[in-house]
Symmetry: C2
Subunit: 274 residues, 2 copies
DNA sequence: GGCGAATGTTTAAAATCAGTGAGTTTTCCC
DNA sequence: GGGAAAACTCACTGATTTTAAACATTCGCC
């Protein structure tokens, strides 16, 4: 039997940690003196502690280790836990690599350009599925404001329920100025359709969108869309052609708070060589 | 101006998080109604929030992001922070790779052998510098018990101060059964030397030791040392030849608690191909 | 116009994970 | 008796999430 400090020296695990393991229940001392409350550990427990350390090294949480230490655990469960852990680590590795390459990009740009670019504020996110009310049209970017006006009139007064506005554009390759557009409001709840030009539908979830948020002056078409497309090209991302890009407009209605547009372009996972 | 829930939908950041950011001080609402305490956000703040998200994505903590968001931050500081982050991620990547390969090894062994081997309980740790009292000798493994006995007699009665026993062996290639040994006690404090065969010295820190803990029967030489060496060879680790290996004995003196030996072999960092 | 129900919003506190650190009191051992 | 070592508690880490209790609003319904 060892006192806690001896056991700590032997195992090179701190006193705090040993006491914590006791509290947690993962390694109870073999004996506790009733009078003094002193913890006494047996030599056997070095073995257990060693296993704990090993599993910890492998990245398991104490809870999982507790399961793994149980005598009656089957080999299949062990294998399962190991495999789940393997996947988890694979994924984390992927994320870290991603992060690293982003940081390296930024460093490179900082060195080359000597400043932090607005264009760097490109950001990946997932956008969940949402319900929209919309109509389709043809037109140039300059016509978007009137299309919004039209939508507003068609939908009517229940503005409270809808937020925000968005435009989706399908690339129409034939004509560079004119696009096939869908002008929409995002809906919180169901809504009664009052027109047969309008349709209500679900926009599917996009697991990966490259987004860029920019302030825009009203009635001046923004360059955000082009900026983002350029950034994507520079960074060797592949644009998902089967899903349209979106421009989501955010405006402080009542005030002079300005208008912002967030361009969202669905992309596919393409690992690029750094 | 947006209410918190609108702002949350717009930015796809949860209410909880927005409130937390307010508390944290990283993104205070543009206005708070005195009467109701309601938070109101401006459209501008979407931009700030987007920057926050981007930095978070890069792996920065909120504290660092707060620094990065300050207007007066110099480009040099930004670069510094990015570079520190880069190193940090590099290191984490390394660790994760290590972990992954360990898990994959275990999985492989589980599949091949159908059980979790005792030999797998090999564990890497660093061992800090320590003071020892020892004497050197020549002998076979069978002679170790008597050498310990001799050491005990030489040192005398102050057993309380010393823990644990250890043997260090330098490979003596000429003779397979006989080793050059150093028999030692690990010392907690200074001790008066009573003999000129004994010497007190520091054992240097070993940043990386492969260790294996095994129960041993008294007077039966253990195979732990051989097991560990075999494992190392299987796993393509390189043994540091300039430092001796150690066998650290742990025994519950007073009881029938058994004796354990932990074999420690210093190794060098060699990344192995999987 | 009033009622209840269902949301929506606020605040604050506690849990998460695996400990570390500081500070105080009790016990051990010589 | 004195100093080391044991115990204990409380606070803190990071970035939220969860929970609970207290108000506010909006809805249908009568």
């Amino acid at each position: 039997m060892f006192k806690i400090s001896e056991f700590s020296r032997l195992s090179r695990v701190s006193l705090k940690t040993l006491r914590y393991y006791d509290d947690f229940g993962i390694l109870k001392p073999a004996k506790i003196d009733k009078e003094t409350g002193y913890r006494y550990y047996s030599a056997d427990q070095l073995l257990t502690l060693n296993r704990i350390l090993m599993y910890k090294d492998l990245g398991f949480t104490l809870q999982h280790i507790q399961q793994l230490l149980r005598e009656d655990i089957s080999m299949e469960s062990v294998r399962g836990m190991l495999q789940r852990k393997e996947n988890e680590i694979q994924q984390r590795l992927e994320e870290e690599r991603e992060r690293l390459s982003k940081i390296q990009d930024r460093l490179l740009l900082l060195k080359r350009e000597g400043r932090v670019e607005k264009e760097q504020e490109v950001f990946m996110k997932s956008v969940e599925a949402q319900k929209i009310i919309s109509f389709c049209s043809h037109g140039t970017v300059e016509e978007i404001p009137e299309l919004f006006h039209k939508l507003e009139q068609l939908v009517g007064k229940q503005k409270r329920q809808l937020l925000p506005q968005m435009v989706m554009w399908k690339e129409s390759e034939s004509n560079e100025a004119e696009f096939e557009l869908e002008v929409a409001y995002s809906l919180k709840q169901e809504i009664a359709i009052s027109s047969d030009i309008l349709n209500v539908r679900m926009l599917p979830e996009e697991p990966m969108m490259a987004t860029l948020l920019q302030r825009v002056d009203p009635f001046v078409p923004s360059t955000a869309c082009i900026d983002l497309a350029k950034w994507l090209e520079d960074n060797h991302y592949r644009i998902k052609k089967d899903q349209p890009g979106r421009e989501v407009y955010v405006q402080s209605l009542e005030e002079n708070g300005g208008t912002y547009v967030e361009v969202q372009i669905p992309i596919e996972a393409v690992r690029r060589g750094s």
